[in-house]
Symmetry: C2
Subunit: 704 residues, 2 copies
């Protein structure tokens, strides 16, 4: 992309026409082999008629590529600046015609002309966008303002140009801990990109308290691990014989064998988790409400308050041709989820009957681990397929809906197996002697005696960790590899910065969702998200400043549909966390036991296991084995029926969901009501300005 | 109020100055005894300097009252019309100077001058509002456009004036079934009042389907009353002896005695109720979403799209002096609720031990009935006290917050005892042998064996019915009485139409809340609300057209805070209806019984009653009596403990709440997402107009 600037640094450093004086304000790229010669000629003739100057230069690397450099002379600039109502300090005397209009204003003016020049007779036959659409031109962009590196250090010699300043103050790794220079970003890249980085920075900043509290909750689990009554009882239960976990090859096993597993479970399934789930639900609300305020401040500072989209929207012909085939996607990822489920069932049986001692001993962990890894691979490959879908080339409402569809697909893809593990795994396993089987062949998985949360936790941890590593590789390593590969071949560069923002916003929102929706199961999620975002900001900054064409500065007042999606995720997160704590975690059964059956948790493990008489199935040395459920023992008048305790626990679980949801939604709405969307002083300032304006206008009227 | 127009119809029909030519554009009223003579003189001098003409005329009925008639001559009108940017069809030639400016434009111009004329030296010492505030003037208003009645019928002679047209087309009782002429209302009274009547009409229209479905649900209950298994079992249960309902004087009674009560309960507590609760929750959403669209259409038709409040907000001195004492209110109505609770307990005992056979037999009904009536009286008297609070005299944000506080107070006042009856009555009564007592003296009330819903239903019906009768009397009868009484004395008229709108909107929103929040208990509520609204619209119209001063036409784009409150009520209604069906109604226990214990409801009544061994308390002819609860019989190993069935029912109740709320909120959000806030064609039209405007401006620029 920077072949134009990079290849001829000696001759006018890529910023000027060949004669060395006329500044390049815009660059068009076309292929000589393109058949649309006539349109291009008419267009360029009309551009010259509008007062622009053009100069052509062939690419050094690819003979088929031709660059058209566009320069707007002083008279043209003045004419259009007046037409476009560009506010300039006209009270100043014009000292230097070269520097009177800033570079971004010059580019904006040329862009304006490009948008409105005809290439054929006919009402809508105008504008560079349509020419890009029908491949008359390959690309159109304003040039960067010189190199981003300087031979002289910035501290002694000052910034060489805006790009250099941005690189030094923003895009270097060394300043990862600093606030972003938002006003500089806005000046160079426009409000839309500035707003994106403001949002990303805001999100990252808000993650810091969440990550801290998450780490504290994790540490609380770590320090109370040894004193936990439940894992203590499991570790001491050398005489408790559990029912076999699989059909033919498995044998009854001692509860104390799963001591380590129980301890790890306690790490994530303790009272701190409930607190953290409430905290994160409120955090999400505060995050969104304060972002609204921050946005209001930014739009005020950047003069966007009364701004509305100015550009005339043109109809693009190719909209109808691209259709996002949501049905086939749905089918493919449903198949994938189902495949993982079946895989886990088969793997469980195989691992348990393997002759390899280590795997055989830890077969539960091995099953979960491999299951999650395969799941991760499926998720990533489906995502890649998603990205390969042809993107529409235009920024329009339709693209918004496209971004929404892509997001929904990725969201479902990422979360569906997690939902399965959280709410379905182990619920429908049946009981010894009456197991439910898939296709009458594979027994459905059971939860571990110490609870179902650990599987969810493993899923969260693995997916978050690997996904981030993968993402960073794709963003950092892959382009480098690609660059190295494309040294010889000229490749069409498809990294459109504004489109990129949609993609990255989408992935940041996905991450926000993954972080908050199941945060009860994995309190370290905010920390991982925080680390990822710190890298993300500088990586994106680096790409924007050094790797990509400069985008046409675009305005925007909001992050678009994403705000609504974030609010939706905030609501969903409350519901899922309520269900995770009530149904997946063992917090409620322990609470009921402590409250109703004993002063503390002593004997909880024993009470949570039911008895099964094994001679029904096969005769072995022990007569009774235990399993995780609340059912009557075989010697009861109604054997294997649910006990009273089951109904107590069920009522408590349901009551918890009701109380948690009403409480947290109540707090959420109250906070949203308390925090006005606009800071008080900003509101006053705006009202005062408006009042002064009205007074001024009234005075002016009176004077007439 | 119409003494000015009414008293001297012969002389210039109250529309002109004494000389019979100059039209009256505004009327100011002051008391001769007011001490603020100096301010008034300065003000009137300044008004004359601005070009207005004044004429004074004493009141015929009260010697202390003086009217100041204001006329704006042609030159003044032209000058200010230009200053205020009033759009006039200047392409027409000015044929008649008398009719060129419409009456409402003339009033607006005079109002503008009145707002900005000084009465003293000093920065903020100007405007009629402040003079009204410090009692320099008593009132300021534009006159009505002549009489609202005509000797000639409108069909043959046409409308005499706008007021007459409005009366014939809008304010007569005979046209109660017709749409309101919104554009006429807006032309005569301004956008704010037009919008209010648009909302009221919209609400009334939307109530029609709700009332229809409600009547069908009621009829369903009526027709299945005789075939209901539960009431059949109660009526046939001549051998089932129930435990005494009060302590000393009550005796055990036969279940079949409450046959009628059980039948009435079935009327309101059946499967149709659940359906109706879901229907009404969705109805409330659809109502609000479509109102947003209707409002968008109206604001477009009425040119309010880009309108913002123009008036400079002035600081009013008396804001700080009035404080709404919310704490003492809270205390007073908490006391009232508590008093009603205690009254019911005492009345229950007294009625049951009364020697009057009819009351003794129906003592339960008598208790509820008198309790509700007393409750109603307390509600109304507290409301009257609320209305008597001094209103602030200004339209400002502060008044919005005042309206909100008044609304909250009335909302809590109206609903708190209903909440008590719905969710607390009969829950904490205890069981025979271990009754809970208030002050160790009065036993808490139990629910009737056929369910708790009937009390709620009675409460709803009585309050809605009496409240409407009371309201209509207060609005129709009371002013007539007052008018008759004030024939002799001149009374200060305090009916400010714009303030009235706040009050009536508040009461309409209260009614909306009462209708939807407990609609599961009383499906006839929408019908009552519908009837009330049909009366309300014509009553208000009559008052606006015939009884009151014409208000200064004000603009508004929305019904203000009320929209947010309506949305809040919509959410609250889903929650309360879920709880009413799950907890108050007997729908869930019956469902669990039919599903788990029998193929149908046969034997349900027997299973829902527990057994108590009376010899524990006193020995009588029968040994066992029955009471409404799920407890183990005295001969069980754990006597009087909750049975398994109790826990089944509890789990089902809680699960129902969860399912109902998630389902209905899901449907609500989906509907809100589906219905865009602006109709598609309106959106297209606006976009097209904007596009055309941009193109025109661009063309105009090019021509320069």
């Amino acid at each position: 992309t920077d072949s134009l600037q990079g290849k001829n640094p000696a001759r006018s450093s890529g910023l000027f026409f060949r004669e060395g004086k006329k500044r390049i304000d815009y660059i068009l790229v076309y292929k000589k082999s393109s058949p649309q010669v006539e349109k291009r000629c008419t267009f360029e003739k009309n551009l010259r008629a509008e007062g622009l100057m053009l100069e052509k230069e062939p690419s050094l690397t690819n003979n088929d590529i031709m660059f058209v450099k566009v320069h707007a002379p002083w008279d043209t600039l003045c004419k259009y600046a007046e037409q476009m109502n560009i506010r300039m300090p006209f009270s100043f005397t014009i000292n230097n015609r070269e520097t009177f209009f800033s570079n971004s204003t010059r580019s904006r003016i040329v862009h304006h002309v490009l948008q409105r020049t005809k290439y054929e007779d006919g009402k809508l036959k105008m504008g560079i966008n349509r020419l890009l659409g029908n491949n008359t031109y390959e690309a159109a962009f304003p040039p960067h303002e010189g190199g981003y590196k300087s031979r002289h250090p910035i501290k002694t010699h000052g910034a060489q140009n805006h790009r250099h300043l941005l690189y030094e103050r923003w895009a270097r790794w060394g300043i990862w801990y600093k606030y972003q220079p938002l006003d500089l970003i806005r000046r160079y890249f426009g409000e839309k990109i500035g707003l994106y980085f403001a949002w990303l920075g805001w999100y990252t900043g808000m993650l810091i308290p969440a990550a801290l509290v998450g780490v504290f909750v994790f540490l609380y689990g770590l320090f109370t691990m040894d004193s936990s009554q439940v894992s203590k009882e499991i570790c001491e239960a050398t005489t408790t014989i559990m029912c076999p976990m699989c059909e033919d090859t498995c044998k009854p096993w001692r509860l104390s064998d799963s001591c380590v597993y129980a301890k790890v479970t306690h790490l994530f399934d303790n009272g701190g988790t409930v607190f953290f789930a409430i905290f994160m639900a409120i955090w999400a609300t505060v995050f969104l409400e304060f972002w609204k305020r921050r946005r209001a401040e930014l739009t005020y500072d950047w003069d966007l308050i009364d701004w509305e989209e100015e550009e005339v929207r043109q109809q693009y012909p190719q909209i109808d041709q691209i259709s996002f085939d949501i049905n086939s996607r749905l089918r493919s990822f449903l198949t994938a989820v189902f495949a993982v489920v079946v895989f886990r069932l088969i793997a469980m049986e195989k691992f348990a009957s393997l002759n390899w001692y280590f795997v055989k001993k830890n077969w539960q962990f091995a099953t979960s681990g491999t299951g999650v890894c395969i799941n991760f691979m499926i998720i990533m490959s489906l995502n890649v397929v998603g990205v390969w879908t042809k993107h529409p080339r235009t920024e329009s409402e339709w693209e918004n809906s496209f971004a929404l569809k892509m997001f929904l697909f990725q969201f479902v893809n990422l979360n569906s197996s997690t939902f399965y593990i959280a709410f379905f795994l182990g619920r429908f396993a049946g009981r010894p002697g009456k197991y439910n089987k898939l296709f009458n062949r594979w027994r459905l998985e059971e939860c571990h005696p110490s609870g179902c949360l650990i599987d969810l936790c493993l899923q969260m941890g693995v997916i978050m960790f690997f996904k981030q590593i993968w993402n960073n590789f794709m963003e950092l390593g892959y382009p480098l590899l690609q660059n190295w590969w494309s040294r010889r071949k000229m490749k069409k560069v498809d990294g459109h910065p504004l489109k990129f923002i949609q993609t990255v916003l989408s992935s940041a929102v996905l991450q926000f969702g993954f972080t908050t929706i199941f945060v009860a199961a994995f309190p370290l999620a905010p920390l991982l998200a925080l680390l990822n975002n710190i890298i993300e900001i500088r990586l994106d900054a680096y790409k924007f400043v050094t790797q990509w064409r400069r985008p046409m500065p675009a305005r925007a007042t909001d992050i678009g549909i994403w705000h609504g999606i974030l609010e939706g995720i905030g609501v969903l997160a409350v519901i899922t966390n309520a269900f995770v704590i009530a149904i997946t975690s063992d917090y409620i059964p322990r609470f009921v036991y402590a409250f109703k059956y004993g002063p503390c948790l002593r004997g909880y493990m024993n009470s949570s296991l039911s008895v099964f008489e094994m001679k029904d199935v096969n005769s072995s040395q022990t007569r009774y084995c235990r399993y995780r459920d609340y059912r009557a023992p075989p010697w009861s008048p109604v054997p294997y029926e649910f006990t009273l305790q089951f109904w107590h626990v069920l009522a408590a679980r349901l009551a918890f969901i009701i109380v948690f949801e009403h409480l947290v939604f109540g707090i959420k709405s109250f906070i949203a009501y308390l925090i006005p969307d606009m800071p008080k002083d900003l509101c006053d300032r705006m009202r005062r300005e408006k009042y002064l304006m009205q007074e001024m206008m009234y005075e002016a009227e009176l004077e007439h």
